[in-house]
Symmetry: C2
Subunit: 404 residues, 2 copies
């Protein structure tokens, strides 16, 4: 498996584009993205578990009932959520895309991200959809990735290639994240494309399994969004023997999928709102996978751990505290904690108690941009990893006046 | 029922004191508190649900097994948690208090608050316990309240008096809070005293019931502490007919208890780490009490809602989003949201959708120091209130270098 460029258009037969259509005030910021497969594709998706769901999710869910799609249209700047006319707008947008591309409206996936409960009109879409359809090109992943950004500061694009029965298969994607990131059985906005030939049920199985250890293990602020969605389109143009059941080919596909989703997770976490540091919590030796996940997620979600990491403060007591309330079943008197970064590794807690360590060395290790909090439970064989970011002044600044 | 002064020494027969014993470096900050009842008292307590528990909690739990206590000793500056010698230190401290006051060590409640996993020695207690015993006086509530503060900026003391069978009964308390505040079946450090005659089982029943709607509905940062504890001592000196079963007297006692605990909750929330605003989320019209609580707590805990309130931004979509992931069962298309303060009230969402409102008026209302987020679910008769604070630059600053 190797990393390739091209993001969401790396796979055969996919093009993308991104334009400014007027939902955002700044004319220099693209706000409408389109992803297109030249042939109909198998499709699968997972959605937020929030009871409040964006109108686009409901329309997308209906459109994906047959496991097929050929295009994804996404706007930023307005979540189209909690609007009385939301469903109508999402449906009309799909119709506009269908007309522009010559495909059924039912084969269009629609998504929105931005402020919740902000009134929305069709006008920007009427202008923007034809424009973004004209903008579609093989090098358009970049523009699409930019158009779905909100408070994101960097574009998130990843792709890999691998060989399946002698055929080169490519899988790539784009994502937006930043704030309101605490996916639960679903995630932020992620669009994945592959030219792999795989049936819709197996595609759904692959995606649903993957998110458990990828997007569901990311948290920026503990708030599960109303508009989370991960969509994957597989158009089969790689020409491999179609994957219709579990086996070697499916495993290989799952590996490729996981390498792309984990890379996107890390990119999302590193670009968390206001983040200065990327945090990873790696739990090993847990009694069960569920316990490992609970512990890793609790540490990554703790405001106090996040603020300590911002301050490069080796306050490991907060790590133990978070594990203690995580709901993980474990013997807390067996836990070891170490901090790791490019500057080295330092053990700060053994058997649930303080050990002598150099505060100076710890500070140096924690001053790096990428920190791993390594938790060893000595209580079993299960392990899990969660990703997040530090809690900073800028997170507060950004979210103190997001709408203004 | 009327508010009275005196805090934890307002009730007959209770004295308190607070001194600097050297756990904290700053000599001007008291760090050791003592509360004493001149006669043995019935006692009850609730504790943190965190698996990681401070050593003092384990010792206190053992000492309260017989439902009796006569003194509480509390230090700030070190949580005495995750220390190998923690239990020994907590036990020795009780023995010192017992010797100084001429009571059994088993009748002493011990508590600690501060950094987790910081080595601790007996030395400050050997010096401090005799000093704080000499400091005990009827006007010592103030000094004890100060000695248990960590990042708290104001002392929390409340007391009320009421009449029971012709006798004046007084109930008061002190609390410390500020950070790592997300109690669950227990709470931060709170010490309550009353001269009411009430049996230990009824006292425990009253306390356990009360915390469900008082301390368990406060959150500053979603982190459940390892050292949370609420203790109540009842020495019977009011001379009322002892309360030994449910009935009118017990109800009256419960009312008094709730008025003290809710006042302490509000004081804790308003003094949340870095807080500039006190937030209250009042949910009405919920299907069940559990649903009302889940919704109120989720809104109060949401980093995004908290940051919006800091910025006086009427971003009600975040309120709906939080209710949506709270786990409360409800029809989100029926929810109304309003913001209230001393400046007035403004409805910002009706039937789960945006309504036209004046951003200017909303800003004015949200610029106040005390904000109520009023959620009406139109889905039943249950209601609940939760308390918290805004998320500010100072929360990040304080927790970025708490240990240093």
């Amino acid at each position: 498996m190797e990393k390739v460029t091209g993001g969401v258009t790396a796979a055969k037969g996919f093009t993308a584009g991104g334009v400014h259509c007027g939902i955002r005030k700044s004319r220099s910021k693209r706000d409408l993205a389109l992803i297109f497969s030249e042939v109909p594709a198998e499709a699968a998706a997972v959605y937020t578990t929030n009871l409040v769901k964006g109108a686009p999710l409901l329309v997308t869910k209906a459109h994906l009932a047959d496991g097929k799609a050929q295009a994804c249209v996404v706007n930023s700047g307005n979540a189209n959520t909690c609007n009385a006319n939301g469903t109508l707008i999402a449906e009309k947008t799909c119709a506009l895309v269908g007309a522009a591309l010559g495909i059924p409206a039912e084969d269009v996936v629609v998504a929105s991200t931005g402020v919740i409960g902000q009134p929305m009109t069709m006008e920007p879409f009427e202008r923007g959809v034809p424009a973004v359809a004209r903008d579609l090109s093989k090098d358009g992943s970049d523009r699409a990735a930019e158009a779905i950004m909100t408070t994101d500061t960097v574009k998130k694009e990843v792709a890999v290639s691998f060989t399946l029965g002698g055929k080169t298969v490519t899988l790539g994607g784009i994502a937006k994240g930043s704030g309101m990131i605490h996916p639960n059985m679903a995630t932020m906005l992620v669009f994945l494309t592959t030219d792999c030939a795989i049936s819709a049920p197996m595609l759904q199985k692959a995606l649903s399994t993957d998110v458990q250890s990828s997007f569901n293990m990311v948290s920026v602020d503990g708030d599960t969004s109303t508009n989370d969605m991960v969509v994957i389109l597989a158009n089969g143009l790689a020409g491999n023997e179609p994957i219709t059941e579990e086996g070697e080919a499916f495993s290989l596909f799952m590996q490729a999928l996981n390498s792309v989703t984990v890379a996107l997770c890390k990119a999302l976490a590193a670009d968390g709102e206001g983040a200065t540091k990327f945090l990873e919590c790696a739990v090993t030796g847990a009694r069960s996978l569920a316990d490992a996940k609970k512990a890793a997620k609790a540490v990554i979600c703790s405001s106090l751990v996040k603020a300590a990491m911002f301050g490069s403060d080796a306050n490991w007591g907060r790590v133990l505290c978070a594990i203690g309330y995580s709901g993980a079943e474990t013997d807390v008197t067996k836990i070891d904690v170490a901090f790791r970064s490019a500057k080295g590794s330092i053990t700060v807690c053994e058997m649930g108690a303080s050990v002598d360590f150099s505060e100076e060395t710890a500070k140096e290790i924690l001053s790096e941009k990428e920190i791993t909090i390594a938790v060893t439970m000595h209580d079993g064989d299960a392990s899990s990893v969660a990703w997040g970011s530090d809690l900073t002044y800028d997170y507060v600044r950004i979210n103190g006046d997001y709408r203004t």
